[in-house]
């Protein structure tokens, strides 16, 4: 009888250890995933850190950390990654009691986009690997892959012409140093432009905007509409690269830039508002907007946005660059109308075998940008 009782006690102990692990394995367990850098351009790289803490007396011989993120991030160690439309990462750790383990993983920024990591799962087992326990931990980290910056030397002449035309127009029009409006404060704004009354009313710092002696604002129109039912993703991606490269170049050379696009935010699905940038430090804001563009949803007709821009105060004093693979007639008509008042450049990213259908007698400047590939 003693032997039977001993055997039963051992069985009970086995069951107890299973219950102990099932109940207490996640007490004091935490995982934090974060990107050490927040952004990179296409073709760049970044580092992801996984930090596990076990503030518990139960050691965990194996612990799987699983999370997913977009497939535009390519981890250098591809064995732990299952890639389909998303990257499913699976890393294995082993933690003793009251131990912290930190692991850093390098990755390549392959494709433009916004890559948040919102949750991570931890999977562990008991001493005999007979039962698996899973728990989700919310995460809050994100990585932006900006469009790649291109060589914009092909734009030297068109930009020169555009800026030259702007200067000529501004000379004709009366252009005092005058109050133009109020916007939110950014770090590059001088303190003496802060409008304290408006700031008190809104609760955020607000600054006055003035027309400079020569208003050299450049508006970049980024049209992501498809002309037909065929979706030309690579052409739109190239459009965004052109927009990012031009914005960076113009801001660096002292031109304030405004971005107007009919792209929609990948998370909110809302159209982006008109965005002003002043100074090269704000190029990051434009890059961030471009990274968050989702090409899938329906887009607003861009001709409407052009006409809306024509209702802006002093719109004639700005220069306009329209980047659009689409060459729809209404779009060309709206842009032609705009170019009757202001300097304008139409840029069309096209494949080699695509025809350009820009009207020959169009009043705006035109640049065809060749993209590798076929329609």
């Amino acid at each position: 009888m003693v032997l039977v009782i001993v055997i039963l006690s051992v069985l009970l102990l086995y069951v107890l250890q299973r219950i102990l692990y099932k109940k207490f394995w996640d007490k004091g367990l935490a995982i934090r995933i974060r990107f050490l850098t927040h952004s990179a351009h296409e073709g760049g790289s970044g580092t992801l850190e996984e930090r596990l803490e076990n503030r518990n007396f139960l050691p965990l011989p194996f612990l799987h950390a699983k999370f997913e993120c977009g497939s535009g991030i390519s981890f250098n160690s591809s064995e732990n990654v299952s890639t389909s439309d998303r990257n499913y990462k699976n890393d294995i750790f082993s933690v003793l009691f009251y131990q912290r383990v930190r692991r850093r993983l390098d990755f390549e920024a392959v494709r433009r986009g916004y890559y948040p990591v919102r949750s991570a799962d931890l999977v562990a087992g008991d001493l005999f690997y007979s039962v698996h326990m899973v728990k989700s931990f919310p995460q809050d980290t994100e990585f932006y892959i900006y469009p790649r910056l291109l060589d914009t030397s092909a734009f030297d002449q068109p930009l020169k012409k555009l800026i030259g035309e702007m200067a000529a127009r501004n000379f004709i029009l009366p252009d005092p140093f005058e109050f133009r409006g109020i916007r939110e404060y950014t770090i590059s704004d001088p303190m003496n432009t802060i409008n304290w009354k408006a700031s008190a009313k809104t609760g955020d710092l607000m600054v006055n905007q003035y027309n400079s002696t020569t208003t050299r604002r450049i508006v970049i129109f980024l049209n992501l509409e498809d002309e037909t039912v065929i979706h030309h993703g690579p052409l739109h991606e190239e459009s965004m690269r052109i927009a990012a490269s031009l914005a960076e170049r113009l801001l660096r050379t002292g031109f304030p830039v405004t971005l107007v696009t009919n792209g929609r935010d990948v998370e909110t699905h809302e159209e982006f508002p008109r965005m002003d940038a002043n100074g090269v430090t704000q190029a990051e804001e434009i890059f961030r907007v471009l990274a968050r563009v989702d090409l899938k949803p329906e887009k607003t007709e861009f001709a409407e946005l052009i006409r809306a821009e024509m209702k802006q105060q002093d719109f004639e004093q700005a220069g306009y660059i329209l980047i659009s693979p689409s060459m729809k007639k209404p779009l060309q008509e709206a842009f032609s109308e705009l170019s009757g008042f202001a300097s304008a450049l139409y840029v069309t990213p096209l494949y080699n075998n695509m025809d350009s259908r820009i009207e020959e007698d169009a009043p705006f400047s035109y640049l065809r940008w060749e993209v590798k590939g076929f329609a």
């Binding site: 009888m1 003693v2 032997l3 039977v4 009782i5 001993v6 055997i7 006690s9 051992v10 069985l11 102990l13 250890q17 007490k27 004091g28 367990l29 935490a30 934090r32 930090r51 803490e53 503030r55 518990n56 007396f57 050691p59 965990l60 011989p61 194996f62 160690s77 064995e79 732990n80 699976n90 890393d91 294995i92 750790f93 082993s94 933690v95 003793l96 009691f97 009251y98 131990q99 912290r100 383990v101 930190r102 692991r103 850093r104 001493l127 005999f128 690997y129 007979s130």
Partner: protein
């Protein structure tokens, strides 16, 4: 190392099953000839064909050579068997072993002789219970020790084979900390085995078996009372039988009583062998566990460097990634023994403040705490203050040199 242990346990499993079966076989043989201990000791020779056939199964490629070697190995068991019946029985057992081995060759190694499971304990328990019923000390004692040892072996086997299967599945995973997994697994297994052995040693002293027997007797009495209600009670007859002295039973009587007395030398050899084997096994297990724990403890603070992971031990006072509600009493206990420089400096700071019996608020800064504790201004206070702030707030933390500086101050 793990694979070797698994292989050894697989072979030990078969040997222990055979020894257990041998206790039953020798009891049956004892009906027709010598003592059961004699047959048992001679029967241990069938472990030779068991071991040799295992070796031949692994090393030979042709079935002919395997059979030749295996059959040859049965010679000692058959030759030394004390009588014809036992020769036949031992030969039969050896043949069964060889047939099972052949089946193992076909099925790539997995047979009842090589798969340790917890269910094998049932076999030992059955023979043990039979031994209790038959008042057979050989069956009870041998199967008790076999069951005891087998629990340890099967737990180790279950753990190691599961771990090997897990590592095989995840073999291709980059950065898998194989050594760390093995180290943590061994630590947990040792702790669990220690607890299991303690339970197995302590449970017999609880008197649970007496309680179970008492409960069984109570249930039987209740059933008899119920049945007595249904019919008349049978008259109780007292039978007195005089037993002539020459027909008195031997002390270990029962259904299968010995007809021949065990030779003294054999009994002495049997007892000596049992004690010696038990002593050696217990010593190996104890020394092995102590050595393994010592090596694991020594290895705790030495990272394995098999990948680029950064590992560090933390305490509840380390609030960089503090999880509220974690640790509790155990966290505070562990913190007392944390030898890291940060923990040493923070413990020293807390002791210094506690000595002044000052009440401290969690939101107070170190400067406010020191002012409230009225620590005298001077070099000691400055060193303590700066090192505490470094231990608590800096990214890299303190070093051993900082601890020495504090001690010097």
């Amino acid at each position: 190392m793990r694979r070797k242990v698994i292989a050894v346990i697989r072979q030990l499993h078969g040997a222990m099953v055979l020894v257990s079966v041998l206790t039953g076989v020798s009891t049956l043989l004892a009906l027709f000839g010598k003592t059961r201990e004699t047959y048992f000791l001679y029967g241990l020779l069938i472990l030779i064909p068991y071991a040799v056939s295992a070796f031949a199964e692994e090393k030979t490629s042709g079935i002919g050579l395997f059979l030749l070697i295996s059959i040859a190995s049965t010679v000692p068991a058959v030759f030394f068997a004390p009588d014809l019946l036992s020769k036949i029985v031992f030969l039969l057992l050896s043949v069964i072993i060889i047939i099972i081995r052949i089946a193992g060759r076909v099925k790539d190694g997995d047979t009842i002789l090589t798969i340790p499971t917890f269910a094998t304990e049932i076999l030992f328990a059955v023979f043990y219970i039979l031994g209790v019923f038959l008042e057979n000390s050989l069956m009870t004692r041998v199967n008790y020790y076999l069951a005891f040892a087998y629990v340890i072996f099967v737990l180790i086997y279950m753990n190691f084979s599961s771990l090997e299967a897990y590592l095989a599945v995840n073999r291709e995973v980059e950065n898998i900390p194989t050594k760390n997994i093995g180290r943590t697994n061994n630590l947990m297994l040792l702790g669990y085995l220690g607890l299991t052995v303690t339970v197995m040693l302590v449970v017999p002293f609880f008197g649970l078996d007496k309680a179970v027997r008492a409960a069984g007797r109570g249930i039987l009495a209740f059933i008899r009372w119920l049945s007595s209600l249904r019919g008349e009670e049978a008259p109780i007859e007292t039978v007195i039988e005089e037993v002539p002295p020459q027909e008195s039973m031997t002390p270990e009587g029962g259904m299968f009583a010995d007809t021949v007395e065990t030779p003294l030398w054999l009994e002495a050899l049997y007892h000596a062998l049992t004690v010696a084997i038990g002593f050696v096994v217990a010593a190996i297990i104890i020394i092995g566990i102590v050595l393994a724990i010592y090596r694991l403890v020594k290895a705790f603070y030495r990272p394995t460097k098999e990948n680029s992971d950064e590992e560090e031990f933390i305490s509840d006072s380390d609030d960089k990634e503090y999880v509220p509600g974690a640790g509790g009493v155990f966290g505070r206990i562990l913190e007392r023994f944390d030898p890291s420089p940060n923990a040493v400096i923070r413990r020293t700071y807390r002791k210094t403040i506690r000595k002044t019996k000052t009440e401290v608020d969690a939101s107070d800064t170190p400067r406010e705490i020191e002012d409230a504790a009225k620590l005298p201004e001077g070099k000691e206070r400055t060193v303590l203050h700066e090192l505490y702030e470094k231990a608590r707030y800096s990214k890299d933390g303190c070093t051993q040199e900082d601890v020495q500086t504090l001690r010097n101050a």
